[in-house]
Each structure stands twice: as structure tokens, then as C-alpha cells.
Subunit: 205 residues, 2 copies
DNA sequence: CTTAGACCTAAGCAACCGCTTAGTATGGAG
DNA sequence: CTCCATACTAAGCGGTTGCTTAGGTCTAAG
């Protein structure tokens, strides 16, 4: 486990499915630029310069600037869904805690990608947005199921399951907004803090 | 109490300090446009059209597009700080609950303004950002004081006061991201839900 | 060496951006 | 009436945008 890639060493292959290498470099450059300046404030010249290529090189691999955004959003949503549902614990409290720990710390560790994922939805075309919204629906359903399983097992005390689901997701997602690598909390510490707070919110014994 | 202005009827004078009326109409049009499309995706022509004036009319009342953003951000931050600190309760749990209820429901009721306040900070000039960051510091300090007062009085069980402050503010702020007026929760209901969740987070008896 | 094809660049186009300039309409004071 | 300040618009300027086109360079098979 290195300090830069943290506990997501295996997932640092976020972009490994993107080929050829030049297309991957372009995506990574676009994600970095979008996360710092926002989609609309980023020019195709910015992206190309950061990837070390000419502005026209963008269009060898992607149809448009928006397609770059879509690929980042699609892969980022799929990765965060995998992180959330990839926990192995079986008891309700341990399972929810592990999922929140992983999901929250992913939003810190990969705050660059997460910011694009969470705050640039409105720049997607309607067709691309539809595809991404389906992934978001599955993320929400995963959290809701974990909470209602705990309620059914008598492990949680939750008067409003949908409200609690909303709050848990909201809390984790917002990490992408405020997190700074220079802050004095590591992604793992944020994960631990949030797992504890969420167990208190659902009234776990 | 009307359904549209909710419990913030008196505060619906958010922009009442802005004169003359044409300047106020321009600010409101800009806030609406920025909240829907984002600062960088909004053109001065969009703003002027929504205010029913010509593009040049923007520059009668404001030096630049960025100054419109700054005024929205400054007034919005000041208003949300007033909402947060305007609670009258004295006991720690009641005071924190009332503050969270007011702050969270403000972010729903005025989600248009709140979105600009929370998500367009990076478009401000360094000088304007400095002024707004000072208001944000006071907002954070207000929440932190409420939590540490409760800890000192033995009413809360909080192992990490700064971490809890971060989470409480984060939860309320993120309402501006997900809230939709067409949703089935009213701003007041969101405030009640969040006040309960926050009391659980701080371990109030 | 020739050739095909993948990959990339230099140059630039049409459209659009924030903002400016020059001028018009209005209404109150003298 | 004249004069002037205020509030606005029509037109457009210089610069930037996303994206295209035409052409160059590299690798590897024949």
C-alpha cells in the first residue's frame, strides 16, 4: 500500500480499460482540468496541452468535448458503484460501516474524478445523462437495501429509511466538494469518521 | 405562511437591499441562470434576456459578470449565516437542532441562491473570494461552537468535534445539490429530518 | 524501396464570448 | 421651452471557442 494510491491500489486502474494510451492520457488530462476549473471553463486547448498534444488530437479519439466528459462520468460512476457494493461483511452494521468507509474514502482519494462525477451531470447530453442516471439509481438502491436489511434484522432504529439513505449518500458525496489533499485528514481517516457517524444516524446498537 | 415563501417570508427580502429595482431584477435573473446552467455556461445575453433588458444593460449596474456573481455570493452567504445564528433556543440540543433545521431548510427553500453560493466559489476573483471565505469561516465557527458547548455541558457525546462540525455542515450544504421543488419532501420536512439525524450524530440524550 | 494505415499537427473557420461605444428616450429643474 | 442627468438600446469590436481540414510522420508488412 503506497501513500499516493492508498487502499485503492488495485482500483488505481480506474482508466486501465481505456485504450490506446493516447486516449487514456487525454481522459486523465480532461478529468484533471474539469475537476479544477469545471467543464464549461475548460477548453479543448487546455486538455490537449495537459496531455502534451495538439488541440486537434482530442478529436482523433473522441467525437466531442462532451464525450470526454461522458467517459469520465460513466467510468467514475461504475467504479464508485463497485467500491460501494464490493464489501464482504455480512452483518448489517458491519456491512453498512464498511460500505460507507469505502465509498467516502473513495470520494476523497479520487476527489478529482469524483468532482466531475458529482458536479458536471448537467453538462451531459440527454442520452448520456440517461445512462449515468441509471448507474446512480443502482448506487442509491444499494445503500437503501443495506439500511432496510438492518432495520429488518432489528439492528437499526430508522424512522425514515429513504430519508436516511438520502443523508448517508449526501454525506459521502459531499466529500468530493470539500476534500483537499493538503488537509490534515487522510481518506482512510475520513472513511472511519463517516462510518461511525452513519452508524449513529441509523441507531446501530 | 405561504407555501411558496415558506417560513422564510421575512427573509424573502434576500435581495431587498439591492437598488435600483433594475439592478435587483438583473441580480435575480443572474442567480436563476447561474443556478441552472452554472456560472461559466451562462452568458451575459442569457442574464439580460431573463431580466427583460438588452445585454448592455448589465454594465449600467455592474462592472462585470463576475461582480454579479460576487453580489449573489456575498448576500447569500450573509443570509445563510443570519439564518444559522438567528435561533433563540438556549439548551445545547434544542439550539443545535433549531440551527440545523433552519440552515438545512434554507438550502432547500433557496436552493437557487444556495447552489450559486456553494458551487461557484472558484469563479470569484481572489479579492472577492477572500471576502466570502471570511463569511464561511464564521459559519463554520458558529456550528463548531454549538457542538462544543453541548460537549462541555455533557449533553453531547462527540469524540471528534471538528469532524462532527464538518459532517453537519456538509450534510446541510449538500441539500442545495440534490433538492428539487418537485420532490416529495418540503423544505420544512427536510429541516426536521436533518435536525433529528444531527442529534443522533452528536449523541444527544 | 514502396505502400498502407494509424496517429498526430498546423492552420484556420464560423460562431459566440464579455464588454464598449455611440446614441436615444424620459422626466424633473429652471 | 432648454438643459441635464439617468437609464436604456443598437451595433459591433477584439478575442476565444469547439471543431474541421489538409497534410505530415511514423511503423511495419510486402
Amino acid at each position: 500500500m503506497t501513500t499516493t494510491s492508498g487502499e485503492f491500489a488495485l482500483l488505481d486502474e480506474t482508466w486501465s480499460s481505456v485504450t490506446p494510451p493516447a486516449a487514456r492520457r487525454m481522459l486523465i488530462a480532461a478529468a484533471a482540468a474539469f475537476s479544477v476549473r469545471g467543464y464549461h471553463a475548460t477548453t479543448t486547448r487546455d486538455i490537449a496541452a495537459q496531455a502534451g498534444m495538439s488541440p486537434a488530437a482530442v478529436y482523433i479519439h473522441y467525437r466531442s468535448k462532451e464525450e470526454l466528459l461522458f467517459q469520465i462520468s460513466r467510468i467514475g460512476h461504475a467504479t464508485s458503484l463497485a467500491v460501494l457494493t464490493g464489501v464482504s461483511e455480512v452483518d448489517p452494521a458491519g456491512r453498512l460501516a464498511a460500505a460507507v468507509r469505502a465509498f467516502a474514502s473513495w470520494h476523497a482519494e479520487y476527489h478529482t474524478t469524483a468532482r466531475v462525477v458529482q458536479y458536471e451531470l448537467s453538462a451531459l447530453t440527454p442520452e448520456h445523462l440517461t445512462e449515468v442516471v441509471e448507474l446512480r439509481r443502482r448506487i442509491e438502491a444499494a445503500v437503501r437495501d443495506m439500511i432496510s436489511d438492518g432495520v429488518a434484522a432489528g439492528a437499526f432504529d430508522v424512522p425514515d429509511v429513504r430519508g436516511a439513505t438520502l443523508a448517508v449518500l449526501s454525506l459521502c458525496i459531499d466529500v468530493a466538494r470539500w476534500y483537499r489533499p493538503t488537509g490534515h485528514r487522510t481518506p482512510a481517516e475520513i472513511g472511519d469518521l463517516y462510518a461511525d457517524l452513519v452508524l449513529r444516524m441509523v441507531g446501530a446498537a
